[in-house]
Amino acid sequence: MNLDFNQIVPYIPFILEGIVATLKFVSISIIVGFILGTLLAICKITKVPLLKWIADAYTSIFRGTPLILQLMIIYFAVPQLTGLDITAFVSAVLAFGLNSAAYVSEIIRAGIMAVDKGQTEAAEALGVPYKSMMLNIILPQAFKNILPALMNEFITLTKESAIVSTIGYLDLMRRAQIVGADIYRNFEPLLFAGLIYWVMVFILTKIGGLVERRMRQSD
């Protein structure tokens, strides 16, 4: 045991910048995944066979292959195919956003299915158009029920974001590795990064709890 945290002190600002880098693409990915996931979920419950098929195929592909593979295809293989240069940041947002959408769509679909069919009928009987019914009646009730599952997905995404270090994006994880290589000590920077990940997830959990309580207002 020769732990020496003094060694990483000069590198702390460098590692902390990784928080911003990580949060930046994670938050955008969550939003992309959430919006796309909601749209996919709605496609899955429509009566239009083509939309259903597309949404199911999408989910099957993005859930059926490793995230790291999707990330690498977007970052390394797409430029080879198209000649377009794609930044690590954009690749990360795309890979995580598209991947998360597949999981989110399944969660939301389950949430919509769990809303009492009478709610749809009541809205229909009042002449409420489909879009308003979904937006104002069905989805708010669905989201309330699936909030814990959604939070789980967001937490997973936040932690799994560490694999963007493999495409050289300077996130929290990558920075901890760089510091480790620089000072020939890995335990201290990795432990430090781990602590930061845990704090981020902890805060996310608290926010989730807060939102959940707000939505329980009507109980």
Binding site: D116, G118, Q119, E121, A122, E124, A125, L126, G127, V128, P129, S132, N136, I137, P140, Q141, K144, M215, Q217, S218, D219
Partner: protein, 240 residues
């Protein structure tokens, strides 16, 4: 006002309605009665196209609503519906439940909708519950809110699908009283019900369904004292 001809509905192989033909006049209060599984609710649900009839026609104000491409939303705007299990929107307050559709469907301003909503909530006697969420209400109160919600669209026709069947006995009266008041205003009402006394007292006409067939229709007093068919006699013997 409402005219059905040879209205039929099948679910898979199950023939639930076997050619119902009847006419409901403007301002008429019609009680639809019959044993369970007789197709009463399905008949009612066809009238606002919650169920699409398999064959036959429904005319409302001389418009054929079963003809191919019709604007279901436009038809439903004019027909209020009250369900057995209320189906209030649980994430909205009583006032929000009542004012939502007028704002979304009829484009009323929030102010106008609130004025109308408060008036209707007062009419069903729940002014003190305006800001409560549905799960704070008793069954009878929920159903009264549901009636106010349907009335907020200012429909010409009101459909009631066993409105008191899910209520505790002591709450049946408060809901029936609201419906009685409504009947005196000249609203066209079609009510699927097991409340025979209510049907006798309030209805202008009784439809008796059995096995998906309209067995008898006519004046409640005649029907309840001298039913013409033996099926109706059997049924009345059991429920009265």
């Amino acid at each position: 006002m409402i005219n059905t001809s040879n209205l039929s509905k099948t679910f898979g192989k199950n023939e639930v309605l076997k050619g119902i033909s009847t006419t409901i006049k403007h301002g008429e209060v019609v009680a639809v009665i019959g044993p369970s599984g007789s197709g009463k609710s399905t008949f009612l649900r066809c009238l606002n196209l919650l169920e699409q009839p398999t064959s036959g026609e429904i005319h409302i104000n001389d418009i054929n609503i079963t003809a191919g491409k019709v604007d279901k939303l436009k038809i439903r705007k004019n027909i209020g519906m009250v369900f057995q299990h209320f189906h209030l929107f649980p994430h909205m307050t009583v006032l929000e439940n009542v004012t939502y559709a007028p704002q979304k469907v009829k484009n009323l301003s929030k102010q106008e909708a609130n004025r109308l909503g408060k008036e209707l909530i007062a009419k069903v006697g729940l002014t003190d519950k305006e800001d409560a969420y549905p799960n704070r209400l008793s069954g009878g109160q929920k159903q009264r809110v549901a009636i106010a919600r349907a009335l907020a669209m200012e429909p010409e026709i009101m459909l009631f699908d066993e409105p008191t069947s899910a209520l505790d006995p002591e709450m049946v009266k408060e809901v029936l009283d609201v419906m009685k008041d409504l009947a005196t205003t000249g609203m066209t009402m079609v009510i699927v019900t097991h409340e025979m006394n209510f049907a006798k007292e309030v209805a202008d006409k009784v439809l008796f369904l059995d096995g998906g067939v309209l067995m008898e229709e006519g004046d409640p007093k005649e029907f309840f004292t001298e039913p013409k068919t033996s099926r109706a006699k059997d049924f009345l013997d059991k429920v009265l």
